[in-house]
Symmetry: none
Subunit: 193 residues, 4 copies
């Protein structure tokens, strides 16, 4: 059973390992060998699954997107949009230690990819961020709040900003403080619930 998964799963293993290692070490400081080791795959074999390092980075981005989609799907089960948003923020706070150490995966990746000339990989990163923006906007809209688009921008921007500060100052408490402020803000918004 484990074996039947092996072959099909190796690609996945690599994606997961890439997502994690790239988040921790950054794109440029991470070698293919690093990822191969983390995935417990021989270096040469990586190229059977991904033609270039860039392809692996893209895969890591996709992995983050998938993770995010899984998270929002989870949240969508909550009946109330305000509660969904608050649960999202709660999740951020829960990740404060990771954020303090490595920052927001998508955000830091986006920053790094932006410096590359590679065709449109930065755009790809933007797309992942937009996933979150769009989901948030839907919640605000469902809530009946005015300017849901702008509110989403504010929320996600606040998240990226507090992640960055938390990371730069190595202080998880920032995440708590600003997270709670966001929770209050969400509560203060007029809306159907």
């Amino acid at each position: 059973m484990a074996d039947s998964k092996k072959s099909a799963g190796k690609r996945r293993q690599l994606m997961v390992a890439a997502a994690q290692v790239l988040h921790r070490q950054g794109v440029e400081r991470t070698t293919i060998a690093d990822i191969a080791n983390a995935a417990d795959v021989p270096v040469g074999n990586v190229y059977y699954y991904f033609k270039t390092k860039d392809a692996l980075v893209q895969a890591a981005l996709a992995e983050h997107a998938g993770h995010l989609a899984g998270l929002t799907d989870e949240l969508d089960r909550l009946p109330d949009p305000r509660e969904r948003l608050k649960a999202l923020v709660g999740g951020w706070i829960g990740q404060r230690d990771v954020a303090a150490r490595y920052g927001c995966p998508t955000g830091t990746l986006a920053v790094e990819l932006d410096k590359r000339e590679d065709g449109g990989m930065d755009v790809e990163a933007g797309r992942v961020i937009r996933l979150l923006l769009d989901w948030a906007e839907r919640q605000f809209r469902e809530l009946g709040a005015p300017d849901p688009d702008g509110l989403a921008l504010t929320l996600v921007g606040a998240y990226q900003g507090m992640s960055l500060l938390t990371n730069a100052l190595r202080d998880p408490e920032i995440m708590v403080r600003e997270g709670n402020r966001l929770l209050d803000w969400l509560d203060s918004l007029p809306g159907d619930s």
Copy 2:
């Protein structure tokens, strides 16, 4: 006299060039040669002014810190703390095109340096960010607002977040939108002015 200036000036030239090029290309993708070229200094000569690449990065950080100090000094001439804060935000909005293309210099540098193992260079980046935090806190305090510490965190966090989104989505308008929101927010704060 010209000569004594020259060598002192070369060091400065390198710092300025480093700050600019590192902001645009990122730390890892920038070579010593890139910076040397931008500063119009022969490659071999760089090492007379900076022992290692890391030292150059540090210098770039210091350059950013100096620039920031110059900016806040400028703002400090304004009589009213609320106006100072609003002028700061106005400056951010004015930089929207740079932000869309390259992000916030200090923020992106901090993100990249965090991924390095090098001794404490990430801390250094944090220090630059804290300069801004401290200045903002002083303004809020002078304004008589409650929790000036938290307000500074919110303000600077919002700046970093909106810079990141602006950059990731390549849309300067985000900077305008969120910047205006911050201006309104500053106006809404209770205070002595």
Copy 3:
């Protein structure tokens, strides 16, 4: 029946594909995968038919030899040796576009194999060329021309030379010009016909 043919046919498919692809891309720039693809055979399967890449190259050489044998057999049906030789040259001229693009298959292969250290594969290439030399010598001898050996050398040498120039200068007209000169030369030779 279909199946028994299949596996025998696959070997042949690979030989034909190898001959073609190696001619076009050269030995060193051609990968096993290239040949496998051209032959529509899974990569891993190639090794059931040929132990090494070298064996495939040898097979391509044999394929060229076989092709050459088929050609001379065809020509041998002509009653007159002078006509046979002229028909050979006519065939060369007819191949001018291929020659302009890729050169003479045997000649270019010989040049490349000569650079290898591999045991005697260059000798093998020489053998294929000698097939042609020997056949030409027989025709000259049958024609009663003096020094048939030397004439064969001159004829085949001229062919290799004009192929190379045609290829290097990418000009098929060279093949026509020099081919016609050879035809005149053959006509001018004293002989029984």
Copy 4:
């Protein structure tokens, strides 16, 4: 004195080494390290003089062109064009052992480069061959022979062909035999001398 040449001469050293090693081993089988070793230069340093392996190959081609120019300059001192051409052929015969082992430098290089996709390096090889064609044509024209263009093609074609056969069959005597035939042919041409 030797030292003053060192720095300026290193580029040249590399060109000469490249020309020789590439002739012997072929383009694809030759590594940068091979050339670096032959030139007694550390591998990493090669890239200071030549940006890529292709650039080195180009340089080798230029070296061959230079060598050829030197040769024809030498020949141009002879008063009679027929003698110049005969001296050229004599030189070819004199090189028979090299030809038997490695073929004609320009010809084999042209064959190999033709298989590459690299931008126009094959054309470059053609240009070197054309140098020889043009020189020969000038001699035939000066001799007053009809169709000097065609005669040059015949002469150089014969050279390439006999080099290839000599190399493929590993028999220097072919060079002697065909070389002498060319000498007779040159003598038989009507002309002013």
